[in-house]
């Protein structure tokens, strides 16, 4: 028997006249994977689920099987797992094509323990058990280049031309029309598909965009994130451009994926207090900081993710929090009944948002359940701090972060040993591939990274 409620597979099919239904979900890396099926096939399989080879959780971004540790019991010799569509996510993607997001399940009806979407739901349900409803929001950062993806591939994804020019970054409106045309087209597509967006703007690097999606339920925001990235890629392709969500597409600025989070209890913002953080917010911060070293592996998943961790360059580098302090890893926004929230500033743009949300919610749950008090907030700048202050630095390599996750009893308990072990094994494989198959740790950004991460995840 499943420990989770199954997704809404019993809903009737829409009579949309679509010729194709696209099944969608992310794998652990955050790649948006799927399969196109006929309406007849979809109707026949929507309750039982659609078979996918288990290797979708076993291939690396270079399409090689990731070896190095024991498989979980549910993995066999390329055995099947089943994607069950969540009918509440069905939309018309374009005329003739419907799109539906689902979750991965095993033959016995239990969720695949490392299914990212299932993990988010599991955390949200655990919070609900304490009477809390989580509301989250994500900032999507991406860089758009003038060249088409074909041209980008031919150039090894290097020496590309940022769309919109390079004169001025961050909030500049004096961008060339091709840049605004691109984002207007993205916004139009989001409207057509029914994804609510709030804002977009020029970000801190040439060609870089920040797009803010509307706050909402964690699973739904994860769905919106996955589809928005797909739309940004499709629009770029249609317009002869290319877009990347690499943590660092050039040797310059990096790209983040900041998460904002609040908790509601009986309809009120549980993070709000008149005079600062509420007790609930403080415990949430305590849990987030207690799990930050381990969660680093999840929210900074790739080799390039760690190249962002440079003092004074934007990303946090210390396990720290502060009220209205964007140099800290967790920024507390206090004093407003509606907007009081936490901003978790560590994730890179290359993180799988479902997993990042699961990890962050796990930290919040731990803080609330265990009443973890946070350390003193950092009121100074949290970059370039000298040693001896009791403020630890964030693990700065993929291997250090994986070791921290391995040793984190809280995340092991909440996310499950199977997920943690699978994830650590895949990070160890990534580390080994980088070093032995062509990556250069001494380059600002090696060619191996550009090839591996520009298009995926």
């Amino acid at each position: 028997m499943s420990e989770l409620s199954t997704t809404a597979t019993r809903a009737p099919l829409r009579d949309s006249g679509a010729r194709t239904v696209r099944l969608e979900a992310t794998n652990h890396e955050g790649c948006f994977l799927g399969k196109n099926v006929s309406p007849k096939k979809f109707a026949a399989g929507k309750d039982a689920g659609f078979a996918f080879a288990d290797l979708l959780f076993g291939l690396d971004l270079g399409n090689a099987p990731a070896f190095g540790s024991a498989y979980p019991a549910w993995r066999g010799h390329l055995d099947d797992v089943y994607l069950r569509p969540d009918m509440s996510t069905m939309v018309e993607w374009k005329p003739g094509l419907d799109s539906v997001i689902g979750d991965y399940w095993l033959k016995d009806g239990t969720p695949v323990p490392i299914c990212p979407r299932n993990l988010v739901r599991k955390m949200a349900e655990r919070l609900a058990g304490h009477g809390f409803t989580a509301t989250v929001a994500v900032e999507i950062e991406a860089t758009v280049f003038e060249e088409s993806i074909h041209e980008a591939r031919a150039r090894g994804y290097r020496d590309l031309t940022p769309l919109g020019g390079s004169a001025g970054t961050a909030y500049h409106l004096a961008k060339s029309k091709d840049w605004t045309d691109y984002m207007n087209a993205v916004a139009d597509r989001l409207d057509e598909v029914g994804i609510e967006w709030e804002a977009w703007s020029d970000e801190d690097a040439a060609g870089q965009i920040e797009l803010n999606l509307a706050p909402g339920d964690p699973v739904k925001v994860g769905d919106a994130w996955a589809r928005t990235r797909q739309i940004m890629r499709e629009v770029a392709f249609e317009r002869g451009h290319s877009v990347t969500f690499m943590a660092k597409p050039t040797a310059g600025y990096g790209q983040a994926s900041h998460l904002n989070l609040s908790l509601q209890h009986d309809g009120d913002n549980a993070f709000y207090a008149e005079d600062g953080p509420s007790a609930t917010m403080l415990h949430a911060i305590g849990g987030l900081l207690a799990t930050m070293e381990g969660n680093t592996s999840i929210v900074l998943p790739q080799i390039t993710s760690y190249r962002r961790l440079v003092d004074l360059s934007g990303p946090p580098v210390t396990i720290s929090w502060g009220i209205s302090n964007k140099t800290a890893a967790v920024r507390a926004v206090c004093g407003h009944p509606k907007y009081s929230r936490l901003e978790y500033r560590l994730p890179g743009a290359d993180a799988n948002l479902y997993l990042a949300l699961a990890g962050v919610l796990a930290g919040v749950i731990a803080g609330i359940e265990r009443k973890i008090d946070p350390p003193e907030q950092v009121t100074d700048m949290a970059w370039c701090l000298p040693p001896g202050l009791g403020i630890e630095r964030i693990p700065d390599t993929i291997s250090k972060a994986a070791a921290a996750l391995d040793a984190d009893p809280i995340l092991r308990e909440l996310l499950g040993d199977e997920f943690v072990d699978c994830w650590i094994a895949s990070r160890k494989w990534e580390w080994m591939q980088f070093h032995t198959a062509g990556g250069d740790p001494f380059a600002e950004l090696s060619e191996w990274e550009s090839v591996r991460y520009f298009e995926l995840p």
């Binding site: 099987p65 070896f67 190095g68 540790s69 024991a70 498989y71 993995r75 066999g76 010799h77 390329l78 390599t397 291997s399 250090k400 072990d421 094994a425 160890k428 080994m432 070093h435 032995t436 198959a437 062509g438 990556g439 250069d440 740790p441 001494f442 380059a443 090696s446």
Partner: protein, 220 residues
């Protein structure tokens, strides 16, 4: 923090106590070099080269950006990532061919030759290598209960059966091939891809054995 190990870990004829240290969070090439130098010391091989008290040698991979530096000092050997601007000697080697040089060494010829010798310790016999492999990896999660190594000797098929239990894994190859894989001198997947090795077991067991190969090769 620095990782350190003083070879030998067990008494061997001619073995020497050489402290080989690596940096924190060391890369695979650093780990590979350090492990190989420890094996050399344990085997009593190239002791004169290992006991040098000065000298820096840069080691570069011939086909990837991997690089490391071996620094000899009064208190042992340090292996670290990257190469200094002006090492005393420099070697370019094939990391997947037991440090075979792919170009002439530069700098101090004696130092370079000594390091090359130290990086190519003699392989143990295949049975001894299999036993050491098993001792080092038998506790890994998911490792089969029994490892069977099979080779063809002068008298026909020979095998070593290590461990006891219901799940087993079979690896078959020439004695030299088995010794290379089990000792960590060669990478399991690379040898498997070359067709020089046969295996029988599950896909999950191959994944575990890959991790076991990393353990003996890179000490991870």
């Amino acid at each position: 923090m620095t990782g350190t190990m003083t070879a030998p870990t067990s008494a061997s004829a001619g073995a020497a106590a050489v402290d080989v240290r690596i940096e924190d969070d060391a890369s695979p090439v650093v780990r590979l070099i350090a492990r190989t130098l420890r094996d050399a010391a344990q085997a009593g091989h190239a002791i004169d080269a290992l006991n040098r008290s000065a000298g820096t040698v840069a080691i570069r991979s011939h086909d990837t950006p991997q690089s490391a530096t071996i620094t000899f000092g009064d208190n042992g050997i340090d292996v670290s990532s990257g190469v200094p601007a002006e090492p005393d000697a420099a070697l370019t080697v094939d990391l997947n061919a037991r440090f075979a040089p792919t170009a002439d060494p530069s700098g101090d010829a004696d130092l370079a030759a000594g390091v090359l010798r130290a990086l190519t310790p003699p392989l143990p016999g295949w049975r001894d290598a299999a036993q050491r492999f098993w001792d080092a990896t038998r506790s890994l999660p998911g490792i089969p209960d029994v490892l069977i190594a099979v080779t063809e000797g002068p008298e026909g098929l020979e095998q070593a059966v290590l461990g006891d239990g219901s799940t087993q894994y079979l690896i078959a190859g020439a004695p030299e091939t088995l010794a290379g894989v089990f000792s960590g001198a060669d990478d399991l997947m690379a040898v498997l891809s070359s067709g020089a090795l046969g295996i029988q077991g599950t896909l999950s067991q191959l994944s575990v054995m890959t991790g076991a190969s990393w353990k003996v090769r890179f000490d991870v």
